[in-house]
């Protein structure tokens, strides 16, 4: 079988400058930066609302995304993240990196990987509610406009990550 060679990754500094320019454009046009977790909030609110409107409106965490607006999905960050999905797909396809697979370290089973992936996602969603933003909306965008909280968040993410990295090394290496 012929193995397709993936194109190499781009230089991280070129990518960084590119994303920086996107953030500048975003502030110039809309007055705010990029985001990510907000799209999950909006999507979740609309899904819960579709299943059970009463339940969704009774929970502040969802109703905040439902009241006073036309539709929770007709939102800047939701559309932006839809774009991220499209851009990722295009780039993955043209770079030869689109492949159905479970990314994991050599020493763990697929099931272990999926359990940790699920748990990590759960912790991040919870944490992002406390911090009011994730790596995109708070660290990248807030960091660029010098929000003190964004810098506290970034430093804490690195401390949190590095403090458990050794414990988690079997997951990845």
């Amino acid at each position: 079988m012929k193995t397709r060679q993936a194109y190499p990754y781009w230089n991280p500094y070129i990518v960084g400058v590119g994303i920086g320019i996107l953030i500048i454009l975003s502030f110039v046009v809309t007055g705010r930066g990029l985001g990510a977790i907000g799209a999950f909030n909006g999507l979740m609110a609309s899904v819960v609302h579709a299943i059970s409107p009463d339940y969704a409106l009774s929970k502040a965490a969802f109703s905040n995304y439902l009241s006073g607006i036309e539709h929770p999905l007709r939102d800047w960050v939701v559309i932006e993240i839809a774009g991220v999905c499209i851009g990722g797909l295009i780039s993955g396809l043209v770079s030869g990196r689109f492949k159905f697979e479970v990314i994991r370290g050599p020493g763990i089973s697929k099931v272990t990987r999926l359990i940790f992936a699920f748990s990590g996602g759960l912790l991040m969603a919870f944490a992002a509610k406390f911090t009011r933003g994730c790596t995109s909306g708070l660290a990248l965008s807030g960091g660029s406009v010098m929000s003190p909280g964004a810098w506290l968040f970034m430093i804490s993410v690195f401390i949190g990550g590095y403090s458990v990295a050794y414990l988690m090394r079997r997951l990845w290496n």
Partner: protein, 199 residues
């Protein structure tokens, strides 16, 4: 100046064009993230094992670029910095939340934004991250009423670092650029060291 940005206000751009701009910005963002290697959880967590610090390099070169650009645009009067959104600071929730976020990040290897790129390049582990994120949001909605006091504790409002430190905007921008350049150099040295040790 007449045309002061944000253009959304000064030019009264219709919502549909803003959403189109959101889509195009998102597509470019997604391409950049994928090209950086961030659709792959194992590549991203190399940051935490010092073998490839590209997460740090991308994050900080993006912030420094945007910070310098936004500073100059407001200095030259093109961007009205009083009209742009600055994330509010909640000291303890953001410290504790950041620590937990970092733990979650190493456990799953992706953040909410990069998990989208991973899912759309076929990475099935990222689907589990999606499931975790959605479950987390449902659980949070259940416990939110009990947490109301905790999550708004130690708020200092929407101020910026240069206001907090009572510094000149430009001076602080320059200092952060210098620190970032030193950090990029240091990150390169760390990678070399680790590469030599494992060779």
């Amino acid at each position: 100046m007449e045309l002061a940005a944000p253009l959304k206000y000064s030019m009264q751009i219709p919502e549909v064009y803003l959403l189109l701009f959101a889509l195009l910005t998102g597509i470019a963002f997604g391409i950049f993230l994928e090209k950086a290697g961030f659709g792959n959880a194992r590549k991203l967590v190399e940051q935490f094992y010092f073998t490839d610090m590209r997460m740090f390099k991308v994050l900080f070169s993006a912030i420094v670029t945007a910070m310098v650009g936004i500073y100059w645009l407001s200095y030259l009067g093109f961007l009205d910095s009083t009209q742009i959104y600055i994330n509010g600071t909640f000291i303890w929730p953001q410290i504790i939340g950041g620590l937990v976020f970092g733990v979650g990040f190493v456990m799953c290897g992706l953040c909410p934004g990069t998990s989208c790129v991973a899912v759309f390049t076929g990475k099935l582990d990222a689907l589990a991250v999606f499931a975790g994120l959605f479950t987390g949001l449902i659980l949070y909605a259940e416990v939110e009423p009990q947490l109301a006091g905790v999550i708004s504790y130690s708020s200092i409002g929407d101020i910026s670092l240069y206001e907090l430190f009572n510094m000149e905007y430009g001076v602080l921008t320059f200092v952060i650029v210098l620190v970032a350049l030193a950090a990029f150099w240091f990150a390169g040295r760390v990678e070399e060291r680790i590469a030599k040790r494992t060779a």
